[in-house]
Symmetry: C2
Amino acid sequence: MKATKAKAMPAPERKRGSGVKFVYDLLRNEILDLVLAPGSPIDEVQLAERFSMSRTPIREALVRLAGEGLIDTLPNRSTMVANLDFLNMSPFFDALTLMYRVTTQLAAQNRRPADLEAIHARQAEFAAAVKAQDALAMIATNAAFHAAIAEAGRNPYFNSLFSRLLDEGRRFLRLYYQSYDDRLPQQFVDEHEAMIAAIVARDTALADRLGKAHAEQIVQQIQKLMIGEERLDIAL
Amino acid sequence: MKATKAKAMPAPERKRGSGVKFVYDLLRNEILDLVLAPGSPIDEVQLAERFSMSRTPIREALVRLAGEGLIDTLPNRSTMVANLDFLNMSPFFDALTLMYRVTTQLAAQNRRPADLEAIHARQAEFAAAVKAQDALAMIATNAAFHAAIAEAGRNPYFNSLFSRLLDEGRRFLRLYYQSYDDRLPQQFVDEHEAMIAAIVARDTALADRLGKAHAEQIVQQIQKLMIGEERLDIAL
DNA sequence: TGCGTAATTCTTGTCGACAAAGAATATGCA
DNA sequence: TGCATATTCTTTGTCGACAAGAATTACGCA
C-alpha cells in the first residue's frame, strides 16, 4: 500500500501553475456573460476561499483581467467589474466596424485549408446555438466564429484588438438577449454564410463589403436595444 | 521631537503601491530602448535585490509586461524579453499603417484646442531631439507625438493598439539608430508639420493621405535597415 | 570512456502573515 | 443634537518562506 501523502497536503488536487489560469478563465467568462454585473465589487479574500487557494494567484488573475480592461482597480481601494460605457459607444462601434472589415478582408487573402475547417466548425456551432435558442451559446459561438476568421487573417495585432472588441460586444449582446428573451437572428447565420463564401473565393473586396455590412447590422441591433431599454424606462 | 519611526522600518523610503509602477515603468523603458536585449532572461530574484523589495511586486510588474507582449513567460521556466520577429514583419506594418491612417484622420475630425497644444508640444520636443542628434529622445518623442495625435482622435481602442505598435516600433528604430549612429530624419519633422496642418484644418482626407504616406515612409526606413544589416552580415 | 540514472541546485508558483491605507464606527465637545 | 476627531475594522500591498518543476551536476555501471 502506497503512502497516500495525505498528511501534509490536505486537498490541493490541482497542478502547480494551473490555479491562475483557472480563476482567470472563470472570472473572464463570468464577466463576459454578465454573471458578474458591471460595477459589482470583487473580493480577493472571498475568491481565495471559494477556490481554496491563496490570494497570490487570485491577484495575478486580477492583474491580467485589469490589463484587458475587464476590471477596474482603485489603488488601495476596491476592485470591481468594469462598467459598460453606454454614453461613449461610437468609438467602440468605429473600432468594431473597422476590425470586422479588416479581418474579413485579410482572411479572404490569407486563408488556408485548416482555417476554413475551423471557420466552418464555428459557424456550425453558432447555427446550432441559434436553432437551440441558447442565448449564451449564441453569443459565445458568434464571437468564436469571428475570432476564427480573424485568425485566418494572420495578423496578431488586429486579432488581439478584435478579440477585445468582441468580448466587449459579448457583454452588450448578453444584455440584449437577456432583456428580449432570446430572439433568433437567423439573418446572422445567413450573413455568416455569405462571408464564408467570400473568404473561400478569395474575394477580398466582397469580404470587405460583407464585413462592413455585418458590423453595421450588429451596431443597429445594439442601438435598437439601447433605445428600447430607454423607452421602457421612461414610459408613463 | 517626533519619533522618527526608524526602529522597525530600515529603508523602505517609498510609498505603498508605488513599487509596482516604478519597476514596471523602468523595465518597460529598458526593454523599449533595447537596454535589455530581446531574448535576454529576466531574473526575479535579481530584480528584487536591485530594487530592494520582495518578489511579489516584481512579479506583478512582469505579469503586466507579459500582458502587453513585452516579455515572454514559459510556465515553470524562465521569463525573458520578447524577441523581435524579423521574419513576419508585414502584419506589423499592415497594422501600423492602418493605425497611422485612422488615428490621424480621427484627430482631424475630433481634435480640441487642448489636443493641438499637446501635439505641438510633442512636435517641438521631437524637433529638439532631432536637432540635438539624441537618438533615444528622438525615438521616444516621435512615439509620443503620434500617441498625442491618437489621443486627439478619442478612440481608446485604437489608441491602445497604436501605442503597442509604436512601442514595438521604438525597438526596431532603436536598433536602426544604434547601428547607423543617429542619422537625422529632418524629413520626419516636415512630415509631422504637414500632419499637424491637416489636423488643424480638419481636413480628414488629407490627414488620411499624410498618415498613410508617413507610415510607408517609416516602413521603408525599417526595411532599409533590415536589408542593410543583412548585407553587413553576409559581406565577403 | 560513454551513457543512463540519481542527487542537487536553481527558479518559479504558492502560501500564510503582517503592515499600511481607507472606510466605518465610536467618542468627545460645543 | 451636530460635527470634528479619534479609534476600530476592513481590504489591499508587501514580505519572507516553503515546495514543486526543470536544469544541472554527480554518480554508477557497462
